[in-house]
């Protein structure tokens, strides 16, 4: 048991998620030698990739010879547990993934999929990056972002509140507010 605890303590997982989308360019970018080496240099031990509907399957690795242990899967009904046990999250720009990760106060790199038409997702990622709640990258700039990232510069995201809308609805409809 003690050994397993030791393991957990020293384990630092990078969790990559593409949600329900197909985002091969992100999975490929993460799976490059240079990104994996850079993550390993920064002290991460495991790389877990949720590939979604992608067709590119990264090679698994047991992490011998001083490298990341790499594993992957396609879908999960809930990624909350994976997010919770991650030390760094690299995610597609879906608002669900972004806010779930920010709520758990995990360092986050959002990668925008430029193959998507009408990419409104990038607006959200860019705005939150400007507010220093996460880092924003494209598949081609992922390596640079990982190399340059300073996790200490991130500002925790304060969760929002739906109550103001409820108040407005109640007052508009003449319902009592309580």
């Amino acid at each position: 048991m003690a050994e397993a605890d030791e393991d957990l303590k020293s384990r630092r997982t990078v969790f990559v998620t593409v949600g329900t989308t197909c985002f091969d360019s992100l999975v490929r970018a993460v799976d490059t030698q240079e990104v994996k080496e850079e993550l390993f240099k920064k002290g991460y031990t495991h790389l877990l990739i949720q590939m979604g509907r992608g067709s590119y399957i990264p090679a698994k690795s047991t992490g011998e010879n001083g490298s990341l242990e790499v594993d992957c899967f396609t879908f999960s009904s809930s990624i909350t547990d994976y997010l919770r046990s991650a030390s760094l999250v690299i995610s597609h720009a879906g608002s669900g993934s972004i806010f779930e990760t920010l709520r758990l106060q995990k360092p986050l790199i959002v990668v925008v999929n430029e193959d998507l038409m009408d990419n409104h997702q990038s607006e959200l990622a860019e705005e939150l990056a400007e507010r220093k709640h996460l880092f924003c990258a494209r598949p081609q700039t992922l390596y640079q972002t990982v190399a340059d990232m300073d996790l200490g510069s991130l500002i925790p995201y304060q969760p929002g509140d739906a109550a103001p809308v409820a108040k407005l609805l109640n007052s508009f409809l003449g319902f009592p507010d309580d």
């Binding site: 103001p164 809308v165 003449g174």
Partner: protein
């Protein structure tokens, strides 16, 4: 005064009578529409005992359902009841999530406190990536299905936050208002993912003034669209 053709010069021929009727009719409709738009911006008159309002909730894939659930959690359940959840036929997860939500409420308080819920599917106007040409046909089918559902439900309140499925429903609700079939309060909350530009659904509802209230979550949208209400982030 007669001319050689035995017609009265000043006689009104049947075709111009029809024309006048059509113009008159259209004018009446326009006046009615303007009146409806004006009245939609007015709040419901308050009274001490407000009856609950049947509520249609439009769900959507992606972040839409998650954001809607986040909003529903802060609403008074027994004011917005009975609740009707509609999701696109191709969306498998949203109705499930809504059922889980409703069940969790039932476990906390009984049906009397929480109210009842029904779950329905609707044909989609357009799938992501579908060609715009075939979209015309599928939109017509979606409209017919939406009409059928709206006639059955006739909600007092409609809550939506973005998916294209809400447009046929809101359009029909607006027409019901014009025809005096049912007055629905239409509330649209733009997704948190929309920071600088409105979604197509929001743009339509905003420009055509079909929503009673349109809410945005980022200040950039408030400065662009003055009639929208800025409510900060919901998530």
């Amino acid at each position: 005064m007669e001319n050689s053709n035995n017609h009265y010069c000043l006689s009104i021929t049947p075709s111009s009578l029809e024309l006048l009727s059509i113009i008159g009719f259209i004018t009446l409709i326009l006046i009615r529409v303007l009146y409806i738009i004006h009245r939609s911006s007015q709040p419901r008159s308050a009274s001490s005992q407000q009856k609950p309002l049947s509520t249609l909730i439009v769900l959507g894939s992606g972040g839409h359902t998650a954001e809607m659930i986040n909003l529903l959690n802060v609403l008074q359940k027994n004011s917005f009841t009975p609740r009707y959840y509609i999701a696109a036929a191709t969306d498998n997860m949203s109705l499930q999530k809504a059922q889980v939500l409703e069940n969790s409420w039932l476990n906390e308080g009984g049906v009397e406190e929480v109210g009842s819920a029904k779950f329905m599917q609707i044909y989609r106007s357009r799938e992501v990536g579908q060609s715009y040409i075939t979209s015309v046909g599928t939109t017509l089918i979606a409209l017919a299905h939406a009409l059928w559902l709206m006639i059955k439900i006739r909600p007092h309140v409609i809550l939506c936050n973005g998916p294209g499925t809400c447009i046929p429903l809101c359009a029909i609700a607006f027409i019901f208002k014009i025809l005096g079939i049912r007055w629905s309060y239409i509330f649209y909350v733009e997704s948190i993912a929309r920071v600088r530009r409105l979604s197509l659904s929001a743009l339509l509802l905003y420009k055509l003034r079909m929503a009673d209230q349109l809410f945005v979550q980022w200040p950039q949208l408030k400065s662009k669209y003055h009639r929208a209400h800025y409510v900060g982030r919901l998530m």
